[in-house]
């Protein structure tokens, strides 16, 4: 025992680092992503056309100004000058309109595609079976639907515009420059490799630095979150100073990562700036040389000064786009991987119409295992008559919850059959079946919304009277009406305002309102006070009457009232019978369980 090596080095486990190193371009993902723009392809075409128009207008403007200055103002020839002004005004108006059209349509198409993608992802999640959710951390799934989808937003809305506009304007300007003077164009090409190195290589390193910062920041945030959630423990154990030290360390790591990027950031922006100067100087110097031998005119030189900068902007924008795509690849992969997961519990193609079921349940030689685990249920046989209440009893890990998971068809069994009214459960449409069953879980999850909405969750079209009737039946009506807002009182996920017992009663009401033929209860082990417990027992009596019920029972009163007690251990039924019969078996598991809980003085 002494040899156990305990790591006493203080550390805090930080967020699982999401692998988000850039992926190579994956054409399949890109085309799959592009498919979301297909419903808006008309808009996309208009966006492309108006981008082209915008470029033409933007090239036309300076040309008109040049004509205005050279042919009218300088020679002081004002006749016809109004026409130039008018044309310029039209050009500006044209540029304004085409940009507006392009921007508005691209935004709408992009946001609509994002909406569709997010909705499809969520719909897909809803179709997945419970087995999937049991293995996943909620936080990760939430990130897929929120952050990962968000990170595609820019790509889908402005990506296409950037691609079209900037590629066109780069080549347009380039062609224009060659047309004017190919020698000076060659001069501008000298700086081009450096620019490309800067915007594609240095900038990428900068982005990677930022990504490191973000990861460190995620650690800072995770630590903060945990510190706030655990503040009570920290205070009770007087661990504040230790926490300060730990946080300062993690915070410092983030700070160091941020500081590491600073010189690079300074280098990048100052270099970009300097390259502008360098490009201009090269044109001036070589241009001067050419000018000396009359190979260029002054006007061409002046125009080139302008165009050098115009060549630079598209490259910058395109590098942004490529980085955007590279980042988006990681999100795409995560999103599409999730979308490609098929539900484990599959709907049968031609389901048997069941109508209203009677509630007869039979487990016939059922075996089951989760993924790669050992068999949780083995050769499980149980026949339950309509209206019968069966209590499932057994030690932790015996397989009680699995019986319920299988009965609700949250999971498909690996062997044998589950029959409902004699029909194989797998041949029934999931919805038809689940609408006739109800399950009340231990944790009594409450949705945000009003109390009424929570009760109606089980039956969306229930009337107010039905809601009140079930609330009365489970004995929570008086409590609800004692609240200032009554049935309209807002409750939350954590169920503030409601005690554990009240939440359980609410869950009963939610189940009862659908008048289920099969009712499944997973009794809470939590210690609610005796008065509430009695109230729940009273409610239970009414709820169980007249329907088939399975109860994972912890409370003696529930167990005793059951028509049959099924004692499960190691995935098998070990004992079965009424309370008194089982108690009579001195070596039985039931008797042992019973005695540990109820002792007489």
């Amino acid at each position: 025992m002494e040899t156990l090596k305990i790591n006493t080095y203080r550390r805090l486990v930080l967020q699982e680092e999401e692998e988000d190193y850039r992926r190579p371009f994956n054409r399949e993902y890109l085309s799959r992503l592009a498919r979301y723009l297909r419903p808006y392809r008309k808009a996309v075409v208009v966006v492309c056309l108006s981008s082209i128009a915008g470029i033409l207008f933007s090239l036309l403007g300076p040309y008109l100004i040049k004509i205005g200055i050279d042919e009218y103002i300088v020679p002081r020839q004002m006749a016809g000058f109004q026409r130039v002004i008018l044309l310029l005004a039209l050009t500006i108006a044209g540029q304004y309109l085409s940009l507006l059209l392009q921007g508005v349509l691209a935004a709408k198409a992009g946001q609509s595609a994002i909406f569709d993608l997010r909705q499809e992802l969520f719909n897909h999640l809803q179709s997945l079976s419970l087995g999937f959710f049991d293995k996943q951390k909620a936080g990760r799934l939430i990130t897929r639907v929120t952050n990962d989808v968000d990170s595609l937003q820019q790509l889908l809305s402005s990506g296409i515009t950037t691609l079209v506009t900037d590629t066109l304007s780069f080549f347009g300007v380039f062609a224009f420059m060659i047309w004017m003077d190919w020698r000076l164009t060659l001069v501008t090409l000298i700086t081009l490799p450096i620019i490309i190195w800067l915007v594609f290589y240095v900038r990428r390193r900068l982005l990677m630095g930022w990504r490191r910062i973000r990861k460190k920041l995620a650690n800072v945030n995770a630590t903060l979150n945990e510190s706030i959630s655990g503040i009570r423990v920290t205070k009770a154990f007087s661990r504040e100073k230790e926490n300060y030290r730990m946080f300062a360390g993690i915070n410092n790591e983030h700070f160091q990562a941020a500081q590491r990027v600073v010189p690079l950031s300074g280098f990048f922006w100052s270099s970009v700036n300097f390259l502008n100067y360098l490009g201009t100087v090269l044109i001036l110097a070589i241009g001067g040389l050419l000018l000396r031998y009359d190979w260029v005119t002054l006007g061409v030189l002046a125009a080139f000064m302008n165009y050098v900068n115009r060549l630079f902007q598209p490259i910058m924008n395109l590098s942004t786009l490529f980085n955007m795509i590279a980042t988006a690849m990681a999100s795409c992969e995560r999103i599409f991987e999730l979308m490609d997961i098929a539900p484990q519990v599959k709907e049968v193609v031609n389901p048997v119409a069941i109508g209203e079921i009677r509630g007869e349940v039979e487990f016939r030689n059922v075996s089951f295992k989760y993924g790669g685990s050992d068999e949780v249920l083995q050769d499980f046989n149980l026949h339950v008559r309509p209206g019968e209440t069966v209590a499932l009893v057994g030690p932790t890990g015996a397989g009680k919850t699995t019986v319920i998971n299988v009965l609700c068809r949250f999971y498909d069994i690996t062997g044998g059959k589950v029959l409902i009214d004699g029909i194989d459960l797998r041949k029934i449409a999931l919805k038809d079946y689940r609408q006739q069953i109800a399950i009340v879980l231990q944790d009594n999850f409450v949705f945000s919304g009003s109390i009424e909405e929570n009760i109606k969750y089980g039956k969306a079209d229930a009337t107010r009277d039905e809601v009140i009737a079930v609330a009365k039946a489970v004995g929570i009506h008086d409590f609800i009406t004692s609240l200032p807002a009554g049935y309209a009182t807002q409750v939350h996920e954590r169920g503030s305002r409601l005690s554990m017992g009240q939440r359980q009663l609410l869950a009963f009401a939610r189940a009862l309102i659908r008048d289920p033929k099969i009712l499944i209860l997973d009794e809470a082990t939590s210690s609610i006070d005796t008065q509430t417990e009695l109230a729940i027992q009273i409610a239970l009596k009414r709820i169980l009457a007249g329907r088939t019920a399975f109860v994972i029972a912890h409370r003696l009163s529930t167990i005793k009232r059951a028509d049959r007690i099924v004692v499960i251990d190691g995935g098998r039924i070990v004992e079965e019978g009424k309370h008194d019969e089982l108690l009579a078996n001195k070596d039985g598991l039931y008797r042992r369980l019973y005695e540990s809980q109820f002792r007489e003085d």
């Binding site: 805090l12 002081r76 945990e226 503040i231 920290t234 100067y277 110097a285 001067g288 999931l430």
Partner: protein, 599 residues
């Protein structure tokens, strides 16, 4: 903007040299901006006309060298500016985070009852980031915008006051439009954040409540609910994107209008001989200088506005109350005698004041074991929370070993009290570290490890821990292996024992375990309580029976107290409660409930 400087000045102060240098560099850089056009003008006006002369190329090279030097100088200024701004911003952000973190630990527990975790988190993350951005580039952009606009106006007037007046007539319109855009963007961004939050809330509920969704077959209903939020988020996103999409063309329109005016009016003025062609050309180039500030103005202003809001929210945290600490704190070994004298506790919520405890008088002897039982909401938990001063009484006094509890050193007090809560919070670290959570002094490693194992054995969790793949080094908590309620509870007991507390408080600590586990825990508790003052808060009679004395609490008042036998004989309520839980009472629940309620 002033608001930020005024209220965060103490965070800027240590770095004022670097920040001052950065600001100076911005000024220099703005000055240098006006030199470049002068060089170009010089080359075109003076060098190129003489380029064919003998020294023409040499002169050109000299001028070019001048431009390169200027370029290098500007690049250097820019570079050091960025380094100083970003360095300062990073340091301020790190300092702010540390200060906020410590401040949060000093705030009393009641503060957390009024603040939602999500809200605190967004302040500590987003708001700090916003302030960091302010110091990193937003301020310098704002400064450059103001400087450029000012300088251009001045230069325009110097070139031709008539044209300057005409052009400036447009400026207010442009600025008003940009400011409006910036406001709407700031609001749009805020709305979008809120909508994203509400979508996440729906999503989170759906995923955490997926069992309910599946079992009720309400997937379609859930999809509808999500679609509604998703559609709203699309709208909020669209509003922000559309603002951007509309601003860009508007800027083009503005600059186009400027060009038109300069060209039209200027052309006319030139032909009328009012201004020279040189002034006209100069004017045209000044207009070009306005391009950058026009681009930057709206986003910069909206950033400034957001940063101000962020600074305000951070200050709110700094203004939160702090736990009171005595002037002359008492530090000594606790014997464990606790006395409550007329202790009342109440809290105020929007619906009014709620009295939780009323004039409690109680005396617990050193080493005594006391159980507190009562209904939900009777004040049991509050009562025990007063002892480690997690809450403070509204009136009355508590004495520990005869000394006013408020005079005890907070750390000394809390380190000698072991607390096991109803819901166990484990940190995302190793199970061993979680057990050793309360021990600040790190002794020799081997000794520490032995102590950890020892506590785990006493809490009957050791066998389970060694069955885990990485034993005591297994990561637990939110980002680690999930433990069952009973396992967590036992880790919490081990954690409380590790500090060898003089007072042990078990606050409903067996509520989330099944009966068998409870029995096991009870067995181990018997041993653990030996020699310590122990207070057990519970709903369960079986737990209460572990105590020497039982206190029956109801609506914040002590209704009865005494040994089990005494209470059983003298208190009907207690007897009924006891019998319902521990004996088989063959009476209908309705009758039992009426019986309890009647007593």
């Amino acid at each position: 903007m002033l608001y930020i400087f005024r209220h965060l000045s103490s965070y800027l102060a240590p770095y004022k040299k670097a920040f001052g240098l950065a600001v100076t560099l911005t000024l220099v850089q703005n000055g240098l901006n006006y030199l470049f056009p002068q060089f170009i003008k010089g080359i075109f006006d003076r060098v190129f006309p003489g380029i064919k002369e003998e020294k023409g190329l040499l002169i050109l090279l000299a001028w070019c060298a001048g431009i390169l030097l200027l370029g290098l100088l500007r690049a250097a200024v820019l570079r050091f500016g960025i380094i100083n701004y970003e360095g300062t911003a990073n340091r301020i952000a790190a300092d702010l985070r540390n200060a906020l973190y410590e401040k949060l630990h000093k705030a009393p527990l009641s503060y957390y009852g009024t603040m939602r975790t999500g809200d605190l988190m967004s302040r500590l993350t987003l708001d700090v980031q916003m302030v960091q951005m302010f110091f990193s580039f937003v301020f310098s952009h704002a400064l450059s915008c103001a400087l450029t606009i000012g300088a251009v106006i001045l230069l325009m007037f110097l070139a031709s006051w008539k044209m300057a007046l005409i052009v400036l007539a447009f400026l207010p319109v442009i600025i008003v439009a940009l400011v409006r855009f910036s406001r709407r963007t700031a609001k749009g961004v805020k709305d979008r954040q809120e909508q994203a939050g509400s979508l996440t809330a729906v999503l989170q509920e759906n995923i955490t409540g997926i069992r309910v969704v599946k079992s009720f077959a309400t997937e379609e209903q859930e999809i509808e609910k999500f679609r509604e939020e998703n559609w709203k988020l699309r709208g909020a996103n669209l509003r922000v994107t559309l603002l951007n999409a509309r601003m860009l063309p508007l800027l083009i329109l503005f600059s186009g209008a400027g060009t038109l005016v300069v060209l039209g009016v200027g052309g006319w003025l030139v032909s009328a001989g009012e201004i020279t062609i040189g002034s006209f050309m100069a004017f045209n180039s000044y207009l070009g200088l306005l391009g950058w500030p026009m681009w930057m103005l709206a986003p910069t202003l909206s950033h400034v506005k957001q940063a101000e809001g962020s600074a305000r929210r951070l200050l709110e945290i700094f203004q939160a109350p702090e736990e009171a600490r005595p002037v002359k704190p008492v530090r000594r070994v606790i014997r464990g005698e606790i006395r409550f004298k007329d202790v009342s506790f109440e809290y105020t919520n929007p619906e009014g004041t709620v009295a939780v405890l009323e004039k409690i008088n109680l005396r617990i002897d050193p080493g005594e074991k006391v159980a507190v039982i009562g209904l939900t909401g009777s004040g049991k938990s509050t009562l025990v929370n007063l002892i480690p001063r997690l809450f403070r009484p509204t009136s009355g006094k508590i004495y520990l070993d005869g000394i006013d509890l408020n005079d005890w050193d907070l750390d000394s007090l809390r380190r000698q009290i072991g607390l096991v809560d109803q819901e166990t919070f484990l940190f995302s670290t190793t199970i061993g570290e979680n057990i050793a959570f309360g021990a600040v002094e790190t002794g020799p490693e081997a000794e520490r490890a032995r102590a950890i194992i020892n506590s785990a054995q006493k809490a009957r969790i050791h066998d389970f821990i060694v069955s885990l793949p990485e034993h005591y080094n297994t990561i637990v908590g939110e980002r680690g292996v999930g433990l069952s309620g009973g396992q967590k509870q036992r880790v919490a007991i081990a954690r409380a024992l590790f500090t060898n507390p003089k007072i042990l408080i078990l606050d409903d600590s067996t509520s989330s375990v099944d009966p068998e586990t409870e029995k096991e825990i009870q067995e181990s508790l018997k041993e653990l309580m030996a020699g310590r003052t122990t207070i057990i808060v519970t709903q369960r009679m079986s737990m209460a029976r572990l105590a020497d004395r039982i206190i029956l609490l109801s609506s914040g008042e002590i209704k009865a107290e005494g040994e089990h036998g005494f209470l059983y004989d003298s208190n009907q309520y207690y007897r009924l409660l006891h019998d319902i839980q521990l004996k088989q009472v063959e009476r209908p629940e309705e009758e039992l409930l009426r019986g309890l309620e009647g007593l």
